[in-house]
Subunit: 155 residues, 2 copies
């Protein structure tokens, strides 16, 4: 597993995200790592991230899958062109669409483990498939369609 | 528009959700209302719900669509059988799957407006389509497949 998180390569403009920005003090600060041909992330929910007492609410799961998906997309794009992660011009992705299938209630007192794999990659679009498991049990299956941020995205 | 929020009919077991539970002090406390043939909700993001400075992160949008979807499903199920919202036996729904298409960056300094409509309803399943707009501009389009909670769901 690579030691530096994908999100730690993000420039300051992209480091404020509630889900994965290292500069968002109130946020989730998800960290994704490249590992072989996959990306992985681990997350420990807070007590208040509940749907029903004892179980994680779906919005948190969608948030983690979203940020893990866009991070995986960026890392995969750099690998595709053989460039070092974070090098300029920046390759950053936003979510065009997300789908999550909830397979089982997700316990809140355990570590959530996400594994992302690239289903399809082109210059402008990456489709990432993500499994969220708890102690080896599949709790949610997600897919993120991530698109390369155009230069005028925030203008 | 009906004056009492759909979530205010939820029993205590179902009132802890981070997205819409009135008893979750740290949560979003989304309130959905039935209005004619649709359900509506309004939400004002906090400053930290950002993706990039000035714009809402996708996980919040997915969370709102999720909770608005399950609330709409419950209300629609009661209406279908002509029973008063909240009457027993309880009709409550959980999300089996969610899909969100992000159409435009969503500004964080405005009110988000959600409108839900029932695409399909059977005894066990409700499919809810949800549009999220800001000042009349469509920012996200979602679909929630909500399933009736079986008696043994949390056992």
């Amino acid at each position: 597993m690579e030691k530096k998180a994908i999100q730690d390569y993000y420039t300051e403009d992209f480091a404020h995200c509630y889900g994965c920005g290292k500069l968002n003090e109130g946020g989730l600060k998800l960290k994704s790592y490249w590992d072989g041909n996959e990306s992985i992330a681990r997350f420990r929910p807070k007590w208040y991230h509940i749907a029903f007492p004892g179980y994680v609410y779906g919005g948190l799961i969608a948030s983690l899958i979203d940020c893990h998906g866009t991070g995986t997309a960026a890392a995969a794009a750099y690998k595709l062109v053989g460039r070092e992660m974070g090098s300029e011009p920046l390759l950053r992705y936003v979510t065009a669409s997300i789908r999550v299938d909830f397979k089982k209630p997700t316990p809140i007192d355990q570590e959530l483990f996400l594994v992302g794999s690239v289903k399809k990659i082109t210059e402008k679009k990456v489709i990432v498939s993500i499994e969220l498991t708890v102690n080896g049990v599949l709790c949610a299956q997600g897919e993120v369609v991530a698109v390369k941020i155009p230069d005028n995205f925030l203008s």
